[in-house]
């Protein structure tokens, strides 16, 4: 039987506010346990939440970026359950009236067609603290620094049809929240993570199969692995006459398997009800327009512009707009280089991204700044250095040896463009290789490359290749 995979993602993006969603405690990551939890975060008796208006602005910004309906009167609700890292015994979240309603997003999977994916909703909620099960001799430690950190939970429609599409969607949301500067998207620190709802059905079937929910996936690779493994597991179950149980599962990246956490029967009854400590969040058109005016150029618009303005291929545009930092870097290099678009794209996507990947660095941490790379490309286009020597210059810049001009000077890499000098060298080589010269004249034109190589060798690669070609051709004819 042919199976169709159906995936919906719930992405949790931590909003990049300075203070928490309902208290004035700091959200900085990595502080000593329980040093960034005030009486409100600790759930002390008598304390009350006060909404941080910044989270509302950020959520609205996100909603506008995915063309969603913004809820003019949204309501916070309490989700009740007991856990030691949930200080109040309930999480303040949104249920019936989330701040962001139905929206949509276009994805461009690496080896598939572009598709539009529906976003069901996005709602605001507070994060819980962390339970630490190691280092406490069989006990559990609780760190409430993260308690009350603002999250935007972005729920997709079950419209993703493969693990690759799910990853493309997640990457798109990841890029978007960073473009909008509403989340740092740091997955190692847990600022961006997702739950995947996965089911399969026979191709052509219109009703959904029974789904499982895989919790807390915190890397693109894990999302892809976990979904693929879960899909295989479900298909195998069904093909052997079994059925899928609706349950919550955990992905174990070490064992590379998913395993059950709790079944539907054990599922919590969260007893949601509107939080009486918080008033509904009411917005007006002026506010929405004010936020709309702060929207930056969005990834899709930028991608289109890169194609039309710079003549990049869709693939190049995809790569270069994957993050707004990279896109900004590209545009900055392109401008400094004096409009050398193709050369810039090739250097950024080639040597620069290669070096960054190898070192495991983000573009913002690159030791070669956009100014440095732009200046170097300018030296290629004004024939100061050849493309080949530029690789030496780039590596030296990467090692921190200075900017392009300094390196060119220091290493003597300036291209020889003095035609008199090049002519002299060519003359010497022709005189020194009479045998090859004879063969060439006899019609073995392949030897042209040999002479070019000799010139380059003699000049340590510094002779301008175009000039060498012209002069050499002339000399070979005339000699």
């Amino acid at each position: 039987m042919n199976w169709e995979t159906v995936i919906g993602l719930e992405i949790h993006a931590q909003l990049a506010t300075k203070s928490k969603i309902f208290s004035s405690a700091s959200t900085t990551y990595g502080a000593d346990p329980n040093t960034q939890a005030c009486v409100v975060d600790l759930g002390m008796p008598g304390v009350l939440p006060v909404l941080n208006s910044e989270v509302v602005r950020m959520a609205v910004k996100f909603g506008l970026a995915i063309n969603a309906e913004i809820t003019m009167r949204s309501v916070f609700a309490r989700k009740n359950y007991f856990y030691p890292d949930l200080p109040k015994g309930y999480q303040i979240s949104q249920l019936d009236l989330p701040i962001v309603g139905q929206g949509r997003l276009e994805i461009h999977p690496e080896d598939g067609e572009s598709r539009t994916i529906g976003v069901t909703r996005a709602h605001l909620e507070e994060d819980a603290g962390k339970s630490l099960h190691e280092d406490f001799q069989g006990c559990t430690g609780v760190d409430l620094n993260r308690a009350g950190t603002p999250l935007l939970e972005i729920v997709s429609e079950p419209e993703l049809r493969s693990a690759k599409e799910a990853v493309a969607y997640m990457k798109k949301i990841h890029a978007l929240v960073r473009y909008l500067e509403i989340s740092d998207g740091n997955m190692q620190e847990g600022s961006f993570r997702c739950d995947a709802n996965v089911s399969v059905r026979s191709l052509g079937e219109t009703t959904l199969g029974t789904r499982t929910e895989i919790k807390n996936l915190n890397s693109f690779r894990f999302v892809e692995r976990a979904i693929n493994i879960e899909v295989e597991r479900q298909i195998e179950l069904l093909e052997n006459g079994g059925s899928v149980t609706q349950e919550t599962r955990l992905y174990d990246s070490v064992k590379d398997e998913t395993r059950p956490m709790r079944s539907k029967e054990e599922a919590f009854d969260y007893r949601y009800f509107p939080d009486p400590d918080l008033l509904p969040v009411t917005l007006d058109d002026d506010y929405i327009e004010q936020v709309r005016r702060t929207l930056p150029e969005l990834p899709d618009d930028k991608r289109k512009r890169f194609i039309s303005q710079f003549g990049l291929t869709p693939y190049e545009a995809d790569v270069l707009t994957a993050s707004h930092e990279l896109a900004n870097y590209f545009e900055c290099v392109q401008k400094i280089s004096g409009g050398e678009t193709k050369l810039t794209a090739s250097w950024v996507m080639g040597d620069l991204m290669g070096a960054l990947n190898k070192a495991g660095l983000e573009i913002t941490a690159s030791s070669v700044t956009a100014e440095m790379l732009g200046d170097m490309i300018k030296r290629i286009s004004d024939d100061t250095i050849s493309g080949k020597l530029a690789k030496q210059v780039f590596n030296a810049m990467w090692q921190g040896e200075g900017d392009a001009d300094a390196i060119i000077e220091k290493k003597g890499l300036r291209q020889v463009t003095d035609s008199g000098a090049i002519e002299q060298i060519i003359d010497d080589i022709l005189v020194g290789n009479p045998q090859q010269l004879e063969q060439y004249r006899a019609g073995k034109e392949k030897l042209f490359g040999f002479f070019v190589g000799q010139v380059m060798k003699a000049t340590q690669g510094k002779a301008n290749p175009a000039q060498v070609n012209i002069i050499l051709k002339k000399k070979l004819t005339d000699f």
């Binding site: 759930g43 002390m44 008796p45 304390v47 009740n80 109040k88 009854d269 007893r271 009486p276 400590d277």
Partner: protein, 484 residues
């Protein structure tokens, strides 16, 4: 001195007739003498009180004093007090020292008031007789075999016996007005949002409201002047200008339109209590008011609506008491579930557990619409009743409670009877309206209270009407024998 009102003692302090230290010592002496009998204080902060009093005397001498400076008062043990045990009369918080001041407590500190201690109450404010307290029942100063009412029973008894000159209370379904009525005091529940709830341990967040318990309406105005106002720490507090409640106390009530809801004088009302309230209404008529019969057809549904909404909210509000971070923790828990079950099972009393269970049930999947949502609709209907009534009248007057103080133990095993003792007070909470209870007579030596309900933010008017009545009557001046 203890027989005087806050208003006159404030004058004495400002004129230097006596010091706050002297006044405070007298209150502390009375607490020492009578608290064992009444059990109205859970904690007495003697040293802190004297330090507060000395600071107040310094302020009084240097001319930086406010009207409440140097006045010894007590706080219901539901208000968090920095560095002082805040128990909510529960075993759950018997070991809890609050790390911060409630906004109300901080406001009284800033005004220079002296805190004598923390008063007894029904556990987590759940009760109408003060019998659910972990620290035991409180005696009614008018008759120690009777309850003082609740949940602010300790505050009411302390003020009625003149151990404190005024006290704070909280009112979720009548918890200020009912004990005020049963102890012969003036008790005001302000409009929801008028007084900050920050630091007031939540029972039912959409209903809870702090207010004063005092001898007179004038004293209530003095205390409300300190308590009322917007608080940025409480999202449900309302940013509206606070009038000087004392300045509005001498308005003539000639032409005042008083609505009398027929539903408040029906079955279940003790006939003597009904008579006393009727007499008070006649008194108002003599003073120039017009009496109009009004109808609040849905008000009798307020008890069932309340006993869904309040337990629902409390079931969630009390989830934080889990034995993990503070408060009671059971001995030797074997695992997390055991820790939760025994800490909560042993830390909470029976009435609290009953309400948590009712509320949990009402919010459960499949029952939410039938209970919680339906109760919210009733609440809207009750508010609409009041809105219609206030289109034709200025205030609504009726009895505060169906009976006078009932015997200790009488209703403890019959929750429904206990819940019905708040039948006239709950509607104001559901609608968020201000209401005041003032003494209007006696029945068999026990005080009878009359309730005046106003439109939103009409505390000034309620206090003025109560004050005018108290200029013409002396019910509020009576003192229980044995404490004078």
């Amino acid at each position: 001195m203890y027989k005087q009102t806050i208003a006159s003692l404030s004058d004495g302090l400002h004129q230097g007739t006596f010091s706050s230290v002297e006044l405070t010592r007298q209150c502390l002496e009375r607490i020492n003498r009578y608290n064992a009998q009444l059990n109205c204080f859970i904690t007495v902060t003697e040293e802190l009180a004297l330090a507060d009093a000395r600071e107040a005397d310094r302020r009084l001498q240097s001319g930086e004093a406010a009207p409440m400076t140097g006045i010894p008062i007590a706080h219901k043990d539901i208000f968090c007090t920095d560095g002082v045990k805040t128990s909510c009369a529960s075993r759950m918080l018997d070991n809890f020292i609050a790390p911060y001041d409630a906004t109300v407590v901080a406001s009284f500190k800033n005004a220079g008031a002296v805190m004598l201690g923390k008063t007894n109450m029904d556990e987590f404010a759940m009760g109408s007789s003060n019998e659910t307290s972990f620290y035991g029942a409180v005696g009614n100063p008018w008759d120690s075999t009777k309850v003082p009412g609740g949940s602010s029973g300790g505050s009411a008894a302390a003020v009625a016996a003149r151990l404190a000159l005024g006290a704070t209370g909280t009112d979720t379904g009548g918890s200020i007005r009912q004990p005020a009525a049963l102890c012969g005091l003036t008790g005001l529940k302000p409009t929801y949002g008028r007084v900050s709830r920050y630091g007031m341990i939540a029972f039912a967040s959409s209903l809870d409201q702090g207010g004063p318990l005092t001898y007179t309406a004038e004293d209530a105005a003095l205390m409300l002047n300190v308590m009322a106002g917007f608080d940025e720490k409480d999202s449900t507090s309302i940013d509206q200008a606070v009038p000087d409640y004392c300045a509005g106390l001498n308005q003539c009530i000639d032409g005042l339109k008083i609505g009398v809801p027929k539903e408040f004088f029906g079955e279940g009302l003790d006939s003597v209590v009904g008579d006393r309230v009727e007499q008070a209404i006649q008194q108002f008529e003599k003073m120039g008011a017009t009496i109009v019969e009004v109808s609040l057809p849905n008000s009798m549904l307020s008890v069932p609506a309340y006993y869904v909404v309040a337990p629902a909210e409390c079931s969630s509000n009390l989830s934080r008491f889990d034995g993990v971070r503070y408060g009671y923790r059971c001995e030797e828990p074997v695992d997390l579930m055991d820790l939760y079950k025994r800490s909560r099972g042993e830390g909470f009393g029976a009435e609290v557990k009953r309400r948590i269970m009712i509320g949990t049930y009402a919010l459960s999947a499949g029952y939410y619409d039938a209970y919680y949502l339906k109760a919210q609709k009733l609440r809207q209907l009750i508010s609409d009743d009041f809105r219609r009534a206030f289109a034709g009248v200025d205030v609504i007057i009726g009895p505060t409670t169906p009976t006078t103080a009932f015997p200790v133990g009488d209703k403890l095993d019959d929750p429904i009877q206990m819940y019905l003792s708040d039948i006239y007070t709950i509607a104001a909470n559901l609608a968020g309206l201000p209401a005041i209870s003032i003494p209007c007579g006696f029945s068999d030596g026990l005080p009878v209270g009359m309730q005046i309900i106003g439109a939103y933010f009409k505390e000034e008017q309620l206090l003025n009407i109560a004050h005018q009545y108290q200029q013409e009557t002396d019910w509020h001046k009576q003192m229980p024998e044995g404490f004078s």
